[in-house]
Symmetry: C2
Subunit: 420 residues, 2 copies
C-alpha cells in the first residue's frame, strides 16, 4: 500500500497543538521550547558557505533539540520522568533516564566505595570497585520501571485528559547495563545451605533496603556499574547498583553497599509500609516484584495533533518483566477490533520493544488502544479487569491498557475515560 | 573453574601504569585525569548521613568519570576518536561517538533543512524534516567505522608500542539509529528504469558527495534522524544523515541535502582522489565500501597493566560489515594456538559485539592476538596476508589482526611489532 499509492507527505508536518502550548502546565518544557524555537529562531547562514565548528572532546545536542526530564517536585523524595513521546527506538539517553530517589542523589567517590557481602555465606567479604570490575563481565539491554508508573490513570473519578506519555508513564527507561552477575559474587562468597533471601542496602541517606529471593539473585541479577557504554550515572546508582531485570525499580537498590544473605526477608520499611499493593478485601499483596506486560502508544498522543486525514504511523513501546513481548495489538475503534502491530527487532527479553502500525486516519473521532502479550501468554488487562482483581485503591503495578482519543480536528487527548 | 576455585580478586585492583601516566602524550586525557583523581580527591562525607542532590531535568556524569574523545588536530578537516578502552558493552554514548569532518560541523536549523530527491525519478521532490519523520520508521543498532581506522598499525617501519585502543581504532562507534528506509523515500519518488546509482550530497562546507550503488540504497540504507533515542547529534549529521550499515563511514553522508538517482557513479573528489586503495601493482581499488571483519582487544591493552598473575578477563569488540560475527578467537601465545571467545548476545548484523575470554596469566611475557570470523566465513587476516594482497602503501581498510604484549611486570604495550 505504502509502496504503491505513496504517503503523500511531502512538505506536510505535524506539530504540537497551539492550545497545548498555551496550556503550558500540561506540557513538557521541551515541547514549549520546540514550538517557541520554530517561530523565533533566525535563519542561519548557508552551511555550505561557512566553515563549521571544530571537533570536540565531548559532544552536545543541537540547540533546537533539548529533551528534558519532567520533575515531580523539588523535594528529597522525588522523581523525574523520561520524555517517552520525544524519543526514538528503545535506548534511553543516560541523562534522560527516569529518577526516583527517597533522599536525593548521594555523592559517592568510587575509589572509596565498598560492597559488603555477608550473612549466611562461607567467606564474608568486602569488595571495592576494582575487585567488582575484575570479575567476568556481562552486558544486557533491559528496562527499569518504577512500580508506581502509570498510577495517574487508575482513579475513575480523576481520569486525566491532557497528559503526555512522559507525565503518565515516564517512570520507565531502557539501557544497556554492564556488570558482574550477582551469582558470580555470591559463589565467590559461598552461600550456605538454608539461605533463601538476600537483603540489598543502598548508601543513600534513606539507606534504601529491599529483600530479594535468592532464586532471583542467582538467576539474572547483576551488580551493574556500566550504563549505555559508560559508568552508571549518579542518579542511577553510581558507582554500582543492583539490577533485577524485569522487576520493580525500587528493589533494584542503587548506590549498593551491602548484601546480606539470609533465610527470610528483612521486612524493611520499603517492603511493608510501602511497595505493597492493598487489595479490595483489605489484605495486601507483598513482594509483587514482577512488572507485568504493558504497552503505551507514544504517537499519536497528547500533546501532538494530526494535521490532516491520511497515512500516519501509530507507534509506541511495550515491555514485560516476564520475558519477551510476543505480540502487540492496536485498536483504532476503542477495542472492538484489533490488528497486530509490527515489532521492531531484536525483541529482547525484559526490554522495551518498539511497535508500529501504519494507519489511515479518515478524519473521524478515533479511540486508539494498545495491548501487549508476552511470551508467557499474559495479556495486558483492561482497566475493568484490573479493578476487578485488585480493587480501586491500590497504588502500584497499574499496567492496564491505555487509550488516546483523536478528535475530528486532529487534537489528541488521553482517552481512557471514554472506555469507563 | 571460576565458580569452584574463586577468582581471588578481593581488594585487588588494576591500574594504568605510573610510567604510562608520566609519558603523558601516549595517553588519552581521561586516563591521566583518572589517575590524578585517584590520588588527589578528598574523602567525601558519609553519604548516608547527608541528604543528596535533588532530581534534575538533565543528568550529568559523576565527577570522577569523564571519558573524552581524542582530538587529532584543531583543523577544519579533522577527527576525534571514541575511548574504546574505557567503555562497556556495545552502545557508544552519543557525545563520545567518533567524528570525522572535512570542513567542520555545520550549524543547521532543522526546521529550514530540506532534502531534494531528483535525477532519474518519476516525481522529483523536496522533503522537509517533518515529511521525512512522517514516513514509517525503523530502528537498528549498527556500527559506523571510518575506512582509515587502524591505519596507524600498518607501516612496518613505524609500528607503535605505546598506543591505546582509542588512538589506534577509535574511529568506530555503535548507535541505535532511527529513521526512514531510503527505499521507502525512493519508492515515493519513483526510480526510473535504468537507474543504478545514487549520489548523496551533504550540506557541510566540503559539500561531501559520495556515490552509492542503487542496490545498497534499496537494501538496508536509511535516512537517519535519531541516534540512541534522541535526535542525531550535530557531529553525526543533524538533522539527517545517510546510514549505510556495514559500509565505510565516509559514504554515509552527513547533513544530507540531496540525493540524485543516476545510471553511473558521480566520480566525486572523495571517491577518486581519496577513499580509493592503492595496490602494489600501481592500480587502485575504488568503491571498496564494505568494512571487513575486524576485532580488537580493549583489555588488557595499553595503558593498562596487570597487577599480578591470576585470573583476568580478556575482552574486546568485533564487527563485520558483511553481517553477523560468527566467531572470535583469542590467542595468548602470539597466534600459535587459539581458543574461542564468548560472544555477548544478541549478536546483531553489522553491529559491534563484545567478546570475552577468561584467562589465567602465569606471569610470563604473553602476546595476545584476536581474530574475528563473520557469517560469510571471512576471517580477519594477519598483517602479512593484507600486505601480500594489497601492498604496503594503501591507506584504508586495514582490518588486520592486532596484538598486545603483556610484559613480565604486567605492563601492556601494542605487540604487533613482535609478529613482524
Amino acid at each position: 500500500m505504502a509502496s504503491k499509492g505513496g504517503f503523500g507527505v511531502t512538505r506536510r508536518r505535524w506539530v504540537a497543538t497551539a492550545s497545548a502550548a498555551a496550556a503550558g502546565v500540561a506540557m513538557g518544557r521541551s515541547d514549549a521550547a520546540l514550538l517557541a524555537g520554530q517561530e523565533e529562531s533566525p535563519r542561519l547562514a548557508d552551511p555550505t558557505k561557512t566553515p563549521g565548528r571544530l571537533v570536540s572532546e565531548i559532544g552536545s545536542r543541537a540547540p533546537g533539540e533539548q529533551p528534558r526530564r519532567l520533575l515531580r517536585a523539588q523535594a528529597l523524595s522525588s522523581s523525574s520522568r523520561t520524555p517517552l513521546h520525544e524519543l526514538y527506538g528503545v535506548i534511553t539517553p543516560s541523562d534522560l533516564h527516569f529518577e526516583r530517589h527517597h533522599a536525593g542523589v548521594p555523592q559517592i567517590e568510587a575509589s572509596a566505595h565498598e560492597l559488603l557481602v555477608h550473612g549466611m555465606v562461607e567467606r564474608p567479604q568486602v569488595f571495592d570497585m576494582a575487585a567488582l570490575k575484575r570479575f567476568p563481565r556481562t552486558s544486557r539491554i533491559c528496562f527499569i520501571e518504577c512500580s508506581g508508573n502509570g498510577g495517574g490513570a487508575y482513579d475513575r473519578d480523576r481520569m486525566p485528559e491532557r497528559i503526555t506519555p512522559q507525565q503518565l508513564d515516564g517512570l520507565v527507561s531502557t539501557s544497556e547495563w554492564t556488570g558482574v552477575m550477582l551469582s558470580t559474587v555470591l559463589r565467590e562468597a559461598g552461600v550456605r545451605p538454608g539461605a533463601s533471601w538476600i537483603l540489598a542496602e543502598g548508601s543513600d541517606a534513606a539507606v534504601m533496603s529491599r529483600s530479594v529471593p535468592l532464586d532471583k539473585a542467582m538467576d539474572d541479577a547483576m551488580l551493574a556499574y556500566g550504563q549505555n557504554g559508560e559508568a552508571v550515572r549518579p542518579e542511577q546508582g553510581y558507582p554500582v547498583r543492583l539490577l533485577l531485570p524485569g522487576w520493580e525499580g525500587n528493589a533494584q537498590v542503587k548506590w549498593l553497599r551491602r548484601i546480606e544473605v539470609a533465610d527470610r526477608p528483612g521486612m524493611t520499611r520499603d517492603e511493608t509500609s510501602r511497595y505493597t499493593d492493598p487489595l479490595k478485601d483489605g489484605t495486601a499483596r507483598q513482594f509483587s516484584f514482577v512488572m507485568d506486560a504493558k504497552s503505551i502508544v507514544t504517537f499519536p498522543a497528547y500533546p501532538y495533533a494530526l494535521t490532516e486525514p491520511g497515512w500516519w504511523e501509530i507507534e509506541g513501546l511495550a515491555w514485560s518483566g516476564r520475558g519477551r513481548i510476543a505480540r502487540v495489538e492496536v485498536s483504532v475503534d476503542g477495542g472492538r477490533s484489533w490488528a497486530d502491530a509490527k515489532l521492531e527487532g531484536p525483541v529482547l527479553s525484559k526490554s522495551t520493544v518498539r511497535f508500529r502500525r501504519l494507519w489511515r486516519w479518515d478524519g473521524r473521532e478515533t479511540l486508539i488502544v494498545s495491548r501487549a502479550t508476552d511470551e508467557t501468554g499474559y495479556v495486558q488487562p483492561a482497566i475493568h479487569d484490573l479493578w476487578r482483581a485488585r480493587g480501586e485503591r491500590t497504588a502500584y503495578h497499574q499496567n492496564h491498557q491505555r487509550a488516546w482519543k483523536v478528535s475530528r480536528d486532529g487534537a489528541v487527548t488521553f482517552g481512557l475515560g471514554e472506555l469507563l
